[in-house]
């Protein structure tokens, strides 16, 4: 706990992207990304669909190599370190993929138990109690013998979360953790994130479309647009920023849902 408060007063950089450029074929997805993720804090990346948020996460995880620029995790350049060193860094990671990426020929229980079985020397009984605890947290009790194909989309997400959190990681990466969940469940999940973050003081990188709810959870919000990070700042500042792209984003996501008839004539005619 003390370490946690210490970190809050003296934030260090956990992950840093420097001028990261990535092209797929002719499409330049990332066009010079500069982003710092502070240790012990929650950084949320927002942006329209298809802008490259998931690609940024994959760079941080070392799954994708940048064409230009560097990715530093705990000060180490991912493209220069050995596989072994990369694995040592990844020991601290808990990852939720956008599609959950569950092992589809294993049951829910085995999915969550896998990191414990492969990475620790815990006994079967210990593993069982740890997995049960995480499944209960995710409200998945009773589904442990189902296969991923037998779950709903939201359940799959929650299994992915349970699996990501089961080893109490130091850095978590969540790609749209609450997409597909009802408001009640996503609130529960946010509360859980908040509590575990308070307890463990982990560093979190969250990609989300759940604006503005996700702001309550975040220490920093970064907007990805046009292949670049348009500013990474605390949420209060973010909502008041005068960067035109951020303004536009804030207005479209947090503004009134229906425009008045005056602004967009014809909008209500067909309804």
């Amino acid at each position: 706990m003390n370490g946690n408060t210490g970190k809050k007063t003296l934030p260090e950089v956990a992950i840093e992207l420097q001028g990261v450029v990535k092209t797929f074929g002719r499409q330049r997805v990332l066009d010079g990304i500069d982003l710092k993720v502070m240790a012990g804090q929650t950084t949320v990346i927002v942006g329209a669909s298809g802008q490259g948020k998931s690609v940024i996460l994959k760079h941080m995880l070392g799954l994708v190599r940048p064409d230009e620029g560097r990715v530093l995790v705990f000060g180490q350049d991912l493209s220069t370190i050995s596989r072994k060193e990369l694995n040592e860094i990844r020991m601290n990671f808990g990852v939720l993929f956008q599609n959950a990426a569950l092992f589809d020929s294993m049951t829910v229980f085995d999915n969550v138990a896998l990191p414990l079985r492969e990475r620790t020397r815990k006994s079967d009984a210990e593993i069982r109690s740890l997995v049960d605890e995480k499944l209960k947290l995710m409200d998945l009790f009773g589904s442990e013998s189902k296969y991923p194909a037998q779950l709903s989309g939201g359940m799959r997400k929650r299994v992915g979360l349970a699996r990501a959190l089961v080893l109490d990681p130091k850095v978590v990466f969540f790609d749209e953790p609450t997409t597909g969940l009802d408001a009640h469940k996503s609130n529960e999940i946010y509360r859980l994130f908040y509590q575990t973050q308070q307890q463990l003081g982990y560093t979190a990188v969250i990609v989300s479309h759940d604006v503005p709810k996700i702001f309550k959870l975040s220490d920093h919000v970064a907007l990805l647009a046009q292949g670049q990070i348009q500013g990474c700042m605390p949420p209060e500042q973010f909502q008041l920023s005068d960067n035109p792209l951020i303004r536009e984003y804030v207005e479209t996501t947090m503004g009134p849902i229906y425009s008045s008839e005056k602004e967009e004539p014809g909008l209500h005619e067909t309804v």
Binding site: L63, R90, F93, V95, F97, L102, F103, D104, S105, R119
Partner: protein, 262 residues
Amino acid sequence: MRNALEKIGDQVLYLLEMAGRMGLFLLTCLKCVLLPPYKMRPVLSQIQFIGARSIFVILFTGAFTGMVLGLQGYYTLRKFGSEGLLGSAVALSLIRELGPVLTALMVIGRAGSAITAEIGIMRNSEQIDALECMAIDPCTYLMKPKFVAAILSIPLLTAIFDVVGIWGGWLVGVQLLGVNDGAYFQGMYASVIWKDIEMGLVKSLVFALLVVWIASARGYFLHLEREGGFGAEGVSRTTTRAVVMASVTVLVWDYLISAIML
């Protein structure tokens, strides 16, 4: 003209790259096989899949191969009045050639294609990425049990194939066509020497390695396929290619090993 050259160059580069990748993949997997951890359970379940579940096919093909060898061998040998050599002819062709080759081809069809599809689907649905992010090495976790199981079970399957085939030849040659029972086995004992068995063993070990290597590497590098390894069609296309590639490679190596060891 320029365009055609460019395309050829492109293709050659791609092939070289793929070959290099697959070579490195093989080295990494072999390293994983030798280094700890040694876990029994996953290896056993793979032996069950690659080995035990292939036994029926092997018994069946082995028996019929031996029977047809008995039949063909009998009519050929009779022309020279030397039906007595049937036992040694059947045994030698099985132990040195047909046993290892046909076993490998059967395993490619049964287990090799399944391995490519399984790993390929895991690659496609980001399950391999997920493993890597958990700091679980896919080579150790996924490939190692398959490699160990194949190296252990394919030579055993080959041995089963040989034995069943010899009895199949006996059935046709001795029971149906009336070759002398004693001559069949006596000729066999006299002509099969350790070197023949050694050649069969070397072949089956090499084939085992080739089969798992090609099957799992094609699945593992599915996302790098030239024509795109996307979706169900990508998996099926790659699986077909892996089967063809493994079969051809086995036959080529069969010739090479024969040429070297004879």
